[in-house]
Symmetry: C2
Subunit: 210 residues, 2 copies
Amino acid sequence: MMLTNELNEKKIHILKVAEKLFAEKGFEGTSIRSISKEAKINIAMISYYFGSKESLLESLILYKISDLKQELENLSKENLQPVDKVNKLIELYINRINCNRGVFRIMHFEMTSKKSSDRKKVFTEIKMNNLEIIERIIREGQEKGVFRKDIVIPLLTPTILGTYFNFFINKEFYEELLDLKTEKKFNAYINNNLTKHIQQTIKALLVYEN
Amino acid sequence: MMLTNELNEKKIHILKVAEKLFAEKGFEGTSIRSISKEAKINIAMISYYFGSKESLLESLILYKISDLKQELENLSKENLQPVDKVNKLIELYINRINCNRGVFRIMHFEMTSKKSSDRKKVFTEIKMNNLEIIERIIREGQEKGVFRKDIVIPLLTPTILGTYFNFFINKEFYEELLDLKTEKKFNAYINNNLTKHIQQTIKALLVYEN
DNA sequence: TACAAAATTAAACACTTGTTTAATTTAAAC
DNA sequence: GTTTAAATTAAACAAGTGTTTAATTTTGTA
């Protein structure tokens, strides 16, 4: 019955459609029917391929973030000045998340209520892993005497990701305020101005002495 | 038919129950039936009192944030050093939002899909207003020569609120990581450590020179 | 007490949801 | 060409949704 973890072309097609709709309407707000309609396949095919809506989401997330870990790992081993490394980390993070809004929005906002505890474990693991990498980079900067010693490292991620997500959540507001009404302008602002803002913020926090 | 905007005891009771459930399960995830069950009233009473689930949410939001504007207004007129004023602003913001998680979570996370455009207008107005007050405070600090001149003021809010929300969204992760497993500990951490982290971050950004 | 308005109720309504069934078509293997 | 498994379909299913109805109880007033 084709209920495997492998991804063929049709499964990928479905995942892409699902991602698009999830990004627009959220996970709960997107029905299997709307996915099947948009993907031009029969409703039953989704259960046939993925088993359930939940498993579909799981497949989507795994499909989308599988190589982020490796990218971060590579970065942490690069030979860069501490500040540059952090800047690059932020740039990589924001760009990556911005390219995969749909999934990350669900991961960050719609996971609170659902408590499929094995999935929670997977996410906790990912977060733990990312935190360890960041920790390594910060400690390196501290040892080189560039960063302050009293940084609460686990709170850096909320500031980095939170700034992005809050900006993104208030998309319409900032589109109006900053004249970013085309998708191109909006993305350009994120990749330039917003990323720079976050980099400045984190740098200031890391090196500023009272 | 009791479809007014005034709030009697029973309506407030319903709002409180709704807030609690919304905080736990989200707006879409909370059914009118569950509200009526928890509030120990008949399902029909909610339509009877509020008209619809949407209007119930609207009532809840207005009920919860009606006096925040005044608080901010008062703060901006206080006679404080720029840094202290910003710190107090952050403290007030975080405390206020943390006390009204349920509503703010919905306002920030569940408004993307729904586009009841008159409600959007109300929120845009609130955001605009808050931004103006922050702008006033920052400009004051710039004129006094304490803050940098090149601050992108509209991006301060995403960093302040985003940090909080991202921390809150990942509640379970940080409960584990930082040993905050009781509600008391968690709230204490927010009111002390997290607030301080945000204050440090914003201060560093505002006064740090490259 | 009698009357009218308000409050409350159980039941029904119309609709959407995710999932499953059982029949049919397509594809592959022998 | 026949057989067997996979892919695809339309239809049904069971459960849940927000809302409305119409009947009943409670309340306040004359």
